[in-house]
Symmetry: C2
Amino acid sequence: MMDTAAPYEFDADTAVRPVGPNLYMGHITPRWNIGPVPNGGYVMAVGMAALRAALPQPDPVTVTAHYLRPSVPGPVRIHVDTIKVGRRYATGVGQLHQNGKETVRLLATYGDLGRSVGPTHVAGAPPPLPPPETLAPLPVHSGLEFGHRFEMRTTALGFEPGRATGPAEVSGWVRFADRRHPDVHTLGLIADAFPPAAFQVLAPGWVPTIELTVHVRAHPASEWLRCVFRTRFIFGGLLEEDGEIWDEGGTLVALSRQLAAAPR
Amino acid sequence: MMDTAAPYEFDADTAVRPVGPNLYMGHITPRWNIGPVPNGGYVMAVGMAALRAALPQPDPVTVTAHYLRPSVPGPVRIHVDTIKVGRRYATGVGQLHQNGKETVRLLATYGDLGRSVGPTHVAGAPPPLPPPETLAPLPVHSGLEFGHRFEMRTTALGFEPGRATGPAEVSGWVRFADRRHPDVHTLGLIADAFPPAAFQVLAPGWVPTIELTVHVRAHPASEWLRCVFRTRFIFGGLLEEDGEIWDEGGTLVALSRQLAAAPR
């Protein structure tokens, strides 16, 4: 743990420290593992901590991660290259290295969501879910360290491998187990936190993320977030998963999309 | 024009030539201008030509572009950095420079769509459109050079600024005016070719793309492509546009999403 004073797991486990020009060190902890592998959204959040430290704008408006190799628990070296600082946006690259090899490449544009103005047209609504207090917590599978970092409340997640029609969809409430308030920096992690929607129609298997893009659209204003993830197109060995993250007040706080390899 | 022997406009206007280690030169022509500015999808396609030349895999499975500065007609220098070559995927970065400044940063993973296998679950359908022959061509506004590069057939595109509900949506058929067969390398351009869906609910204005990501999912097997673009969330000065590109046979060939600044 980089900072033993950090009160919340997310902050402790994504902390980075500057060690040279454009260079940061972090530590990938096994607490966010899915089996033996650190969750991709968590690794993105560690890289975002370095981008956040390096870029002059406060909010990650769009972040793309390409996953080159599996991450492993242990030290991570993050090189940040600020490629453009404009009046409204700043764009940077993050390169995560472990054991001498690049594991993740990030490309991100930061801005200031609090300063933005413009017309409003919202044609979407949060996923219909009963209040979180009325739903049973999602059980955590043994060995799924990642599951202990969150409290998730979902309606029935019925696995129906081979179901013929309709999008594969997972929706539910999520908050940090230690009640950390979600901010813009946590939304890349949240976007990769639910069980893959594809497991609603395929037998569960290994679904490695190739690329994950998160658009942060607003500051979350509640502890609970309600999320929906949908996969519509599974073919040719690939699938996409589209996510919406809303706060309890009904504000869309992030959109996500990932491209992943389908289980064989 | 880089290659006067190239028979099609797309190929002539996206041609690049190697000029050094990891370095290519291309030429942004004004033929793909929207007013004075080259279309962002076209500029992405020029950058993709360099990635295609440098990477050992044939198909762009996911390409992200961050638009740092407006491009201008004229020479473009493209530096390509191959950051990972694996068994199934190769990932690279493209940096486009004009007049000494970086204009666009690309991050892309290429693969081989022909080699992919896996389960199939498709929960989506092409936009409902009459056959292209039965629709009137979309008129090209004077001065819109870009419009002359395509033939577009759409149902009514009624501008309804201030419409209260529903997604802003544009759908239609598109093919190259010179009948070039669309391949995987053209789909980033196609993803940015239609009038912004947001113009269905907002007064038209300047909608600069901040980031565009395209997932190519299959090889297009027809000259006409049918597309739908939807914008659901316009607020805080930002909007997303989600696109689907299908071929005439009903195969989804690409998904796209862009983050853009909303007109003020």
